[in-house]
């Protein structure tokens, strides 16, 4: 008996007991569906995070004060540093200026220091708490942001410490009533009037990385007119220094150059004593990749347990079926079925059950993940072939594994006794 005949026989006997077959498949359907849906959503989240991090700019290095390890004396530098949490040894405008010197750090193309604070922005009766990023004209190129209207901070504004502001798209939208063009209007940042010179293109991003809920001002203006913080040496403090590196291959050497300059300026002898942190996209990506990866595997393993339960369900039903069909097995053996024929017939039934279940489960998993992600903007489920192959392969394996014991029981039945079975 060849494979095709075995599959046909299996179909015949499974369709004769349709309800039971469907119920048996349910475990596999749910298991495969859950695995595929969870893996697809998990990979979708990974892609989303990767896109968001990449949208921060290419060949970008973040230089932040403090260390990520956060020892007892060093301030804990996290992304909150970007938002301006103070730290014991701050980065200064002077640090940024030296980094910008092409002779000191040849692999750096552009350097954009930024001073970040939460401020209150007011236009007319409308007021809004938002993040102010005070920076230099290089920022736009380093962070790859573009204006939709007007212009970004220019070097003239920086030199003159002009009271000009560029609004994130969301700030502009919320602050100005529809129909009012923000360009040329005067807003107040912490009660100091600023003229709006530009509105940024929407960038997307959510949570900490929401790039649209920001107001940009020249760095010199912030230091002279809004926040007069200085270090003990009288240097202007910056919250972060964004660095664009000449090429991706030079990222490591650029990091080295930055570290060397900063250690010299901060009087640090050993790398272990660093009071700053250099982060690149790959670091951020790998941290998030790791977290989402672990979560995906964890959830998928829970889903895989239901595959196991489904397999046990198949075994249970197959055992019942073998007992019920003892006489049929006897007849088949009497007319010449060998052990292997009976074995493959019952194995085929188990595999057909699990493969059909796997197919329906795959369809439901894809549909389910699409439905779920349609509720979350920007998140797209990534239907990976690997997940489908893995789940389908696993379900065939489950069918073979849990079908083999009942099939073996059927194959070794004695034809005389089987024929006598009532």
């Amino acid at each position: 008996m060849n494979l095709w005949e075995a599959a046909r026989e299996a179909f015949d006997s499974l369709s004769a007991n349709l309800l039971r077959s469907v119920l048996t498949m349910l475990g596999i359907i749910i298991g495969v569906g859950a695995v595929i849906a969870l893996v697809s959503i998990g990979q979708g989240v990974q892609v989303l995070v990767a896109e968001q991090v990449q949208s921060l700019g290419s060949n970008l290095l973040f230089v932040l004060p403090g260390t990520l390890e956060g020892g007892p004396s060093s301030g804990r530098a996290t992304f909150s540093s970007i938002a301006g949490a103070s730290s014991p040894t701050p980065l200064t405008l002077g640090d940024a200026r030296v980094l910008a010197d092409p002779l000191a750090a040849p692999d750096l193309v552009r350097v954009a220091p930024a001073f970040n604070r939460f401020v209150e922005v007011v236009y007319g009766d409308e007021s809004r708490g938002t993040l102010m990023v005070a920076t230099t004209p290089e920022y736009a190129a380093v962070r790859r942001v573009e204006v939709a209207l007007g212009e970004f901070i220019a070097s003239g504004h920086e030199q003159a410490a002009s009271r000009v502001a560029v609004l994130g798209s969301q700030v502009a939208e919320r602050l100005f009533p529809s129909g009012v063009l923000p360009l040329g209007e005067t807003i107040k940042i912490n009660r100091v009037p600023f003229r709006v010179i530009g509105v940024m293109r929407p960038l997307g991003g959510t949570g900490f990385a929401n790039q649209d809920d920001i107001v940009w001002v020249p760095l010199s203006t912030a230091h002279n007119r809004l926040f007069r913080e200085r270090t003990a040496a009288g240097e202007a403090v910056v919250s972060a220094i964004y660095v664009q590196v000449v090429s991706e291959e030079r990222m490591a050497s650029a990091s080295e150059q930055i570290a060397e300059i900063l250690r010299r300026r901060h009087g640090i002898l050993y790398a272990a004593d660093d009071d700053f942190t250099i982060i690149n996209q790959a670091d951020v990506l790998s941290v998030f990749g790791e977290i989402t990866g672990i979560l995906t595997v964890f959830l998928a393993s829970i889903a895989a347990i239901s595959l196991l339960v489904g397999g046990i369900g198949i075994m249970n039903i197959m055992l019942v079926s073998v007992t019920e069909r003892t006489r049929e097995i006897g007849i088949r053996k009497a007319v010449g079925a060998k052990r292997s024929d009976i074995l493959s017939q019952f194995l085929a039934e188990a595999v057909v059950l699990s493969v059909i279940g796997g197919g329906i489960g795959t369809a439901l998993g894809i549909g389910g993940s699409q439905a779920l992600t349609s509720l979350v903007p920007d998140l797209r489920a990534v239907i990976s072939l690997e997940a489908i192959l893995l789940a389908t392969g696993f379900s065939i394996g489950v069918g073979l594994f849990f079908g083999s014991y009942p099939a073996w029981r059927a194959a070794r039945l004695d034809p005389i006794q089987a024929l006598r079975y009532e």
Binding site: E5, S13, R327, I331, G336, R339, I416
Partner: protein, 238 residues
């Protein structure tokens, strides 16, 4: 047709073990059956005739003794080899028909072909059904057929691989006398036209009376071997 016997059994013994007790079912049966013979094996229940049929049908192996089928010893073959011999050499007809209830007559008849030479399966199955007069019932399921028709489907199934032997175990036991007579006619016809050896296992004297040789078993021993020519001669003189 006398060159070699189709079936030759030498001193067949079969002992069943029921726990600690050994129950002898056959205690040394020897017989020869020639191709094309129409034979009845008779005996009261417990005489060992079912055991003998299982041995002759290669469903079981003797405890001792030798069994030759077409000159080849089959007593020591493996389960799978026996299955192959059942497939090619032996057709079974059972008292309870033993058809697959969910399959059509055609599928039932095709069954032995599934486990053997599989070419032109449908055609050969249809041919076998026509041979038993059921050419118009091909797509009926067993429960849509009368008892006599079901038994004829079973005969078509036994026939489809063109085996030299058909073993019929009380083939009319579950039938009324009219259907029983029809079934007997079909089997006699096959024996006459195709030279198939038909062995009946029965305690129905009516069946025995229509065969030309009667083997009588009692307590696992062959009591008598009545050749039929004698009787037909006798009937002719009466």
């Amino acid at each position: 047709m006398t060159e070699s016997p189709l079936i030759r059994a030498e001193n067949l013994v079969k002992v069943y073990r029921l726990g600690q007790v050994e129950v002898p079912a056959l205690r040394g049966v020897s017989l020869e059956i020639q191709p094309g013979e129409l034979v009845s094996i008779m005996g009261p229940s417990g005489s060992g005739k079912s055991t003998l049929m299982n041995l002759l049908g290669c469903l079981d192996r003797p405890t001792s003794g030798r069994y030759f089928l077409e000159g080849k010893e089959v007593g020591g073959l493996s389960d799978d080899e026996l299955a192959q011999i059942r497939n090619r050499k032996i057709g079974f007809v059972f008292q309870t028909f033993n058809l697959l209830p969910r399959a059509t007559a055609l599928r039932n008849v095709e069954l032995p072909l599934l486990y053997g030479r599989g070419d032109r399966r449908r055609e050969r199955a249809e041919q076998a059904l026509r041979a038993v007069g059921l050419g118009d019932r091909v797509h009926h399921r067993p429960q849509e057929l009368s008892g006599g028709q079901q038994q004829r489907v079973a005969i078509a199934r036994a026939l489809v691989n063109q085996p030299p032997i058909i073993l019929a175990d009380e083939p009319t036991g579950n039938l009324d006398s009219k259907s029983g007579a029809e079934v007997m006619e079909v089997l006699e016809h096959l024996s006459r036209e195709r030279g198939i050896t038909v062995i009946f296992v029965t305690h129905d004297p009516y069946i025995a009376s229509r065969t030309r040789r009667i083997l009588r078993l009692h307590d696992g021993v062959l009591l008598s071997d009545e050749k039929l020519e004698d009787r037909s001669v006798l009937e002719g003189t009466l």
